[in-house]
Amino acid sequence: MTEQEVREVVERLLKRLNAGELDAPSPEATAHAPAQPAEHDGVIEDIEQIDLRRQYLVENAHDAAAFLAMKERTPARIGVGRAGARYRTQTMLRFQADHAFAQASVFSDVPPEVLENLHLPVYQTTCESREEFLTRPDKGRVFDAGTLERIRAGIAPDVRVVLYVADGLSSAAVTANAADILPVIRKGLEGAGIKVNEPFFVRFGRVATMDQIGDGLPAEVVCVLLGERPGLVTAESMSAYIAYKPTVGMAESRRTVLANIHRGGTPAVEAGAHIVDLIQLMLEKKRSGIDLPV
């Protein structure tokens, strides 16, 4: 088709449209995309507040309700529609926002007031800064002699379970879950007559800090709750690593792991209650990790 022909076709169509012979796309049909962020007084709603499992962006879907029913079962970004060959603007923005949130969780500290409200004393590994923590995993596993002594001095000799929190790779996970999971574990164990220490917080802490803390203590079980490396689904996911009589240099297989603790995964209170049972089983069987029959 030559340019001239195209122009003629367009002109003919426009004439028919103006004459009312053709239906112009109705405003409703074009603005159908559901769950667009609403605007209130010039302020756009926080895109992070939209539940992706309930958002379906495909236009003129054959059966949107059936797709939404499937979306209930997965956090994957499906049913997002497209703009030409690309993502829609909303999808792109959400992706960037989730990525930014994940990065921020890795690079930021747990706010001091969160730790104060939980009455958690703060200790720091041999890392001097967050940059060092991220680049030197070996330094995030150990304390200097003075710090280790102070930590261990705070654990009474009759304590059977040592419980503490570490930032790991997500400060957001600590902020989101610590207040709900800590009391469930403490009350649960104390209710069963098992003495727990006063929990503390380790800054720039990795999983293996539990080895140095537990090695040589009379306490039997050490449990650390720490932030998981964030993904795009959530930056608030916490893991519990639990070991019976951990020692420096022990095999990783001796740790029992409970991952995916966040509001879209295992809720903090349920995870805490499950950890209570796990720890009681460890105390009874005197083992942990893959040696523990679950």
Partner: protein, 469 residues
């Protein structure tokens, strides 16, 4: 233990026939090793179907309990299964309500064979849903994305259930079945008929009396009128007073036509023309099947043959009646099973419900004379404070009652249960479980824990959509 296979028995004592089916139900932990376990039913497989037998009766209204026991023990022997191997099961007595008078005697006679985790009488709503699940109509609605209505037409009743996305959205039951009218061996002379049949005959203008002979045309007229009432229920024809008069307990809500219709139950074999031996019944079943086959159902081109026909209800009872709880639950010192527990639903879906919680629980115990399970929606990812305060309120309100059972939908039962355990004296028997969604007035049978004690099997006997309390 990642996988566990349980044997389940389903026994359906119907108006015309008694059926027994053995199934294998597989429970698996579908969560990764690094997560909280999630035990789910991952497979249901029918292992053995016993042949259909006529239900033994001692009188037209009374089931011969010993006769049924005899039949079922023969089925066990034929299947090569010992009663002690059975972990789950359901016995249901279906069809006309009058037949259920000696349900207790029947379930007692069967208790040695079926174990003690059973449903004695199911009620029309549950029968309809079990038939719809057992036939495969529920699954068809899930895979096709269509609204599917299953009509399970047996000897005494037509049980109807409508499914969307695999879940029942409506159910109802009509006094329509193949055995409402029985003939002598000549298939012409009326031997007996039910009160519902008298209504139908009056409406169709067919004089009916025991000992009289019906012409072929009269028999067909009765059957056609019955088929019409089914059309009325299914939204294919405006409802008439006869439809309303034939409703058992509750009519199917008038929700318009469905995309797909499936038929199950004994009469369905006559509808699809798959029963080659209809003569032995000497009743209206064959005529009713022919009438439905030339009805508006087929004219609309929306009829499909389901995966299961005659065995739909019994497979539903044996393999689809049981659900399992969430895998983080809390219980102690209880003796299972806890059969036929009514459920009192209290509003609890967030902090705003806390102030009224204690009074709401007390009110449910008052309504149910002090014996019911307390069920609530619960809160997704609740705070510790909320769990603790809810436990305090529940602990006070539930203290004087027995048994102490809390059922939640949202995943919070273990945390709540541990808080309850601290609130009551140490060895107080109780059960707190989640992952079960209930509607007001549902009754539950709670079985003994499975999968190393991590999950509880539950049969929900729904009364949804019927007139209940």
């Amino acid at each position: 233990m990642r996988e566990e296979r349980l044997l389940s028995v389903g026994i359906d004592i119907g108006t015309s026939t008694t059926q027994c089916v053995f199934s294998a139900i597989t429970l698996s932990n579908t969560a990764s090793s690094f997560s909280v376990p999630r035990i789910q039913i991952t497979e249901k497989r029918v292992l053995y179907r016993a042949p259909l037998r006529l239900t033994p009766l001692t009188s037209p209204d009374t089931i011969d309990a010993q006769g049924v026991e005899q039949i079922v023990s023969e089925d066990y022997a034929a299947a090569g299964i010992r009663p002690e191997q059975i972990r789950l099961g359901a016995v249901i007595i279906t069809g006309e309500t009058a037949r259920k008078q000696n349900a207790r005697a029947v379930s007692q006679a069967l208790s040695r064979l079926a174990g003690d985790f059973v449903v004695a009488t199911a009620g029309p709503a549950l029968e309809s849903i079990l038939a719809g699940r057992g036939s495969g109509a529920a699954e068809l609605s899930r895979t096709s994305g269509k609204r599917v209505m299953n009509l399970d037409i047996g000897g005494g009743t037509a049980n109807m259930a409508v499914f969307e996305r695999g879940e029942p959205i409506a159910n109802g039951c009509l006094d329509i079945g193949g055995r409402l009218l029985r003939f002598e061996d000549d298939d012409r002379t009326v031997l007996s008929f039910s009160p519902a049949m008298r209504r139908i005959a009056r409406d169709a203008g067919v004089p009916l009396a025991e000992g009289t002979r019906l012409s072929g045309e009269e028999t067909d007229r009765l059957a056609v009128r019955m088929a019409e009432v089914l059309e009325e229920a299914a939204g294919l024809k405006p409802r008439t007073p006869l439809h309303d008069a034939l409703c058992v307990e509750a009519c199917l809500p008038d929700i318009g036509p469905s995309d797909i219709y499936t038929f199950s139950g004994g009469v369905s074999e006559c509808i699809y023309g798959t029963d080659t031996d209809t003569a032995r019944f000497h009743d209206l079943g064959a005529a009713l099947g022919r009438a439905v086959a030339s009805s508006r159902f087929f004219a609309a081109g929306r009829v499909r043959r389901p995966a299961e026909c005659s065995y739909a209800t019994v497979i539903g009872a044996g393999a689809y009646s049981v659900a399992v709880s969430g895998s983080t639950i809390c219980y102690q010192e209880l003796t299972f099973p806890l059969p036929s527990l009514p459920t009192g639903k209290v509003p609890f879906a967030g902090p705003e419900d806390l102030p009224g919680l204690e009074a709401a629980v007390r009110e449910q115990y008052r309504i149910f004379d002090g014996e019911c399970a307390i069920c609530m929606d619960g809160v997704q990812a609740p705070s510790y404070a909320l769990v603790e305060q809810a436990a305090q309120a529940l602990a006070r309100a539930m203290a004087p009652h027995w048994p102490k059972v809390v059922i939640l939908r949202e995943d919070m039962a273990k945390a709540l249960g541990q808080a309850l355990m601290r609130a009551w004296p140490g060895d107080t028997p109780f059960l707190c479980m989640d992952g079960i969604s209930l509607t007001y007035g549902d009754t539950v049978d709670i079985g003994a824990p499975l999968s190393g004690g991590r999950v509880i099997p539950v049969i929900v006997k729904t009364l949804a959509f019927s007139a209940g309390r």
